[in-house]
Amino acid sequence: MGLQRGVAIIGAGMTRFHHKIHADKTGRDLFVEAALEAMASVDNGIELGDIEALFIGNFSSDSFEHQGHVAALMADWLGLTPRAATRIEAACGSSGAALNIGVMAIASGLYDVVMVGGVEKMRTLTTEEVTDVLAMASDEVYEAAVGFTFPGLYAAMATAHFHRYGSTWEQLCAVSIKNHHNGSLNPKAQFQEEVIDIARRLGERRGMTFRDEMEFLRSPLNPVVAYPLRLFDCCPISDGAAAVIMASEEAARRFTDTPIYVRGIGQASDAMALHDREDLTTIRATRLAAQQAYRMAGLGPEDIDVADVHDCFTIAEVVATEDLGFFPKGEGGKAAEEGRTSLEGDKPINPDGGLKAKGHPVGATGAAMAYEMFKQLRGEADKRQVPDAEVGLIHNVGASGATVVVQIYGR
């Protein structure tokens, strides 16, 4: 199956993701900021009147902000009414799913230009309350009720992966260190600081010195969240929004000479509860969504120059790089340790810092991945630019893998 007509991204914008600086802003403030930046990024300019529909990914504004019905709200605040506005919810994969729906809406011929975005304002709640809200994306009856948390589910995957493949927590640390390095190069990232610099800063405060990152990561300053995952294995809680503008291939030419084309899309679901999955070390929905996207694009994993994968936890990046076909099963951790996923490696992963360092306002993450690929493939990613990147992939996961979206882009 393919698209009935070509679709391209013609503009992209995002707020900085952060846990503090947006304290005085609401979700609507954040989304409008991202949307206006996306519009301003369109080379030949674009008017609000050009945008025919809005698709918004959002997980739980209801719980975080006591605000439902956010798609109409965002259309209202952006001055887009009476255009169609729809919210899409797929946990942390919400705006990834919205991206796919945006592509379908254009490919179907119904619209020529749409805006797809995502927003999540999470820091209204305490860490404990956020933990509760995120756990709603797991199976309440059979997982959350026995005590699983979100980090706990990925921690369980890690123990299964360690057991089967002999991968190690030290390999997970390589993911965290790499993503913090990339984040230090990204002005939109929540954490723009190398792990070693964080170690020095936190150490000074407590009169501790660390020989290297690993000594810091093994210290009590990196407490266990859900064994074997520690704080630096987990993405932070963030506020933020992102938006892209998509157009049909034909309409795109009016707006820019360098559109980024959607080459392939895929989406799959799986058992809600982790224990019901065929294999605890694989996210099957990733494999299936990737297969669909690769087939549509006529490309394979070897053709991907740069990818943003869903590293809500370090183990998730390791598993994703295997399931997307970048590395053989069981060797994702080793590849990270060897530097193959760094900006200079043969398969750069999460050049923007990933969820780990860039931040993870859950509903905004998929759209922020599309933003990053728009920048990378146009050669506009500054210090974090992957040289000569021509084909990019995004991988956005809902919860522990019950939803996965993959999109592939090309120049």
Binding site: T131, D132, A145, T149, A156, A226, Y227, L229
Partner: protein, 125 residues
């Protein structure tokens, strides 16, 4: 058609209610209304074994609010039959002894009014 209540009632009575597809033989734990393997709605109830092995686990140090004060506590995914797993709380095991492959047995306790599925390491005589 099996409902969540059937499973929870069974927990309260001290057993694990599972379903088995009469068409393809696939087993579901907890029981389901429709066989996810073949789509059949013709399922029969049976009691799943209480003994199994840990397939994956974690020790929660940052708990959700409902389990605040219980941390650290262990949670495991336990394989009871080939490919048939369930999540439960692990009791009576230290972090050092918890491992993939550990033999465990189900126990059924109450947390307030709610039944809670637990597992304890199997004691070999």
């Amino acid at each position: 058609m099996f409902t969540v209540k059937d499973y929870r009632d069974a927990l309260a009575e001290g057993y694990l209610l599972a379903s088995k597809c009469r068409r393809c033989g696939a087993v579901q734990l907890p029981p389901r209304p429709i066989c996810p393997k073949c789509g059949s709605g013709d399922l029969e109830a049976f009691k799943a074994p209480k003994r199994g092995r840990v397939a994956a686990y974690t020790v929660i140090h940052v708990p959700p609010s409902r389990f605040k004060g219980e941390e650290p506590y262990a949670v495991a995914i336990v394989e009871l039959l080939e490919g048939v797993r369930v999540s439960g709380r692990m009791l009576d095991v230290s972090e050092a002894d918890l491992r993939v492959g550990l033999e465990v047995e189900a126990d059924f306790i109450k947390l307030g009014e709610e039944p809670l599925l637990c597992f304890r390491p199997l004691k070999h005589p």
